[in-house]
Subunit: 191 residues, 2 copies
């Protein structure tokens, strides 16, 4: 059975374990094992800090996984959760197929600043915020490295779904599971 | 000559090229070639979107690099720039030594919420924000995956420096160059 690493900021929710269980049950329904970060059995070695034990535990799960699904719903800022984005990069570096979703439908530029706080630079044909910092305007869900990595390493754009409860809704997650099932069939055909 | 990939949100500045040049000059002073994302020669193939051409260009520079230095100064939210964090994860996945710095000295919890907006959960011994979302309290500069990855893959914590101009100051960047020079000597000893 193929394993999917379940990256996302739901680990910070008060009901993080319950949300993880629901994700894992959906994985099983699609023929996968779901590896959830809070599952890693922490065995800090003598003197090891808890954060390092968590890091190494997550890394072990990521190495075991065949596929990644990342919850890229914006978290404490304009972009996805930093831990999730790191793990997405790591999985791309390790050559694993990755899929991603967001439960906020607006693209990056709409989330970064309201239109009246954006300035169009005629010379470069780019948008900048009031501090003069460029705002990407590719219609992407997040920084281009994220959207383009998913396209290159999973073959699909970020799945977007407007959800009333953005950190818990699993509609777009399930859409990613369907993409992962199709990727798994391709992996199996290669074996 | 070893090459260093220069990841960071300074690519969004109006003077992005000038800041990149200064970083590259410092690289040369320490015996490195600096690979700056805006240097990639974009050759979009027929029908290729500009964002995808940038992605593939950056990927090519990252693959060429021996070492990475990431500017993790917070950007549009509590954490580092999402593109930089993605590239950090990618370099870790590719097994390259990485170093990181931030020009904001506060740790993640101090930046995420003021003390009066944090609630201590006695049961789990964790801090949560007013939405009930956990806030990591490990004294790290950012999400634990970032800080711990740098420790595991470069051997050092995030270099922190309080700078008046956080997106342009190169004091902490130069400290990372010194760490990179020491890593390069180790890579050379292994060759």
């Amino acid at each position: 059975m193929r394993a999917i690493y379940l990256a996302g900021p739901e680990v910070f929710l008060p009901d993080a374990l319950a949300v993880g269980r629901r994700k894992q049950e959906l994985c099983v329904a699609y023929g996968f094992e779901g590896l959830y970060p809070l599952d890693n059995t922490l065995r800090p070695v003598a003197g090891e800090r808890l954060d390092q034990a968590i890091y190494h535990g997550n890394l072990e799960l990521i190495r075991r996984a065949d596929i990644g699904i990342c919850n890229l719903t914006p978290f404490r800022g304009a972009s996805a959760d930093a831990g999730t984005v790191f793990e997405l990069g790591l999985m791309v570096g390790l050559g694993k197929p990755v899929f991603g979703y967001t439960n906020v439908i607006d693209d990056l530029i709409a989330r970064t600043a309201p239109p009246e706080a954006l300035v169009f630079d005629e010379a470069t044909q780019e948008w900048r915020d009031t501090s003069g910092l460029l705002v990407e305007n590719f219609g992407n869900a997040d920084n281009l490295m994220i959207d383009c990595a998913l396209l290159a390493h999973g073959g699909h754009r970020v799945v977007r779904h407007a959800a009333a409860d953005p950190l818990r809704d699993l509609t777009a997650f399930e859409a990613c599971l369907r993409l992962a099932a199709s990727a798994a069939r391709q992996l199996a055909a290669r074996d």
